[in-house]
Subunit: 186 residues, 2 copies
């Protein structure tokens, strides 16, 4: 039964591995590239795919950034249960958002495994690093956009551990985005 449970790290980065600009602006996500042989998902397909995710996990900075963006674009994670890892008291204005501070093994064992199947960890680098180091991650899904940002927040904080990966899937989109999906070997 527990074999159905999976934690996936998902991030969108520039070719030079940045996931955010220093000023936190997000217009770089809209690339102007066109890759003829790429695929394109319909809104319907994207919706169907997103439906398979039944929990999001994020760090406090990612949460605060998402809150900020929600003022202009709405809350990006919909009604899906979302767990924010933080020791701070953060504003919460939705029933599906919980703040958690404590042992991550315990979080996974007692809160995630019994309730969810397809958990997505959406950043930032500190949380990504902790989860990888504790070997709590099953998959990494990295979407690389056709841009060099030059500076900003790097996706991979030095993990300080070696991990072998298994390439599961690659997808190339008409927008020039390349999606790489890896399993972390255990």
């Amino acid at each position: 039964m527990t074999n159905d449970f999976k934690i996936t790290i998902h991030m969108v980065s520039s070719l030079d591995g940045m996931i955010a600009k220093k000023d936190n602006s997000i217009s770089w996500f809209e690339t102007s590239d066109h890759y003829e042989n790429g695929i394109e998902l319909t809104e319907e397909q994207t919706k169907e795919f997103l439906k398979t995710i039944d929990c999001y996990i994020m760090g406090s900075a990612t949460y605060e950034h998402a809150l900020e963006l929600s003022k202009s674009y709405g809350w990006a994670y919909g009604e899906v249960p979302t767990i924010v890892l933080s020791h701070r008291k953060l504003p919460v204005d939705k029933k599906n958002i919980e703040i958690y501070s404590g042992d991550l093994y315990k979080l996974v064992r007692e809160q995630l495994r019994p309730r969810f199947k397809n958990v997505w960890l959406v950043g930032g680098p500190t949380i990504v690093k902790e989860f990888i180091r504790l070997k709590l991650v099953d998959e990494i899904r990295l979407s690389i956009l056709p841009i060099i940002l030059g500076d900003g927040l790097p996706f991979f904080n030095q993990i300080e551990q070696e991990h072998l990966l298994h390439l599961k899937e690659t997808r190339t989109y008409k927008s020039g985005m390349v999606e790489l999906c890896y399993e972390i070997k255990k």
Copy 2:
């Protein structure tokens, strides 16, 4: 005529963007992964491809590392003209190797363009950064191996400039390596 001339950056990196381990060991290049839907080049195809490269450029640390490796595996760049960028006096024991120190625009204009068509810049990060910042690079070809190294030498030193890219090609190999080829928009 000069439109035929191209400078390509080529690097092999881990998923976390490292191109070398701290101890400089290279066994991680031999991945144990297997990606069923990937392609595989024959030795013949690889040879044919390498023949199209008519000049290599590298920094002094990359050169010294290649020299070190040549003791065990032979000189990796064959008889192809190779220019090492360095202010230091470095040992040179092959006729096809030159040391250059000076203006990079001048190098490209006076030495590379008149003599070569397909120049490959093979590292390291300092040289990569300088060439990108001076807008002397036409293409970036990044081969990502299925591994997280955790620390080491990062491919992209903070470039401190934004560059839009155009995705030209992606290839996925049976070994789990993914090759991404981008044009730097000018």
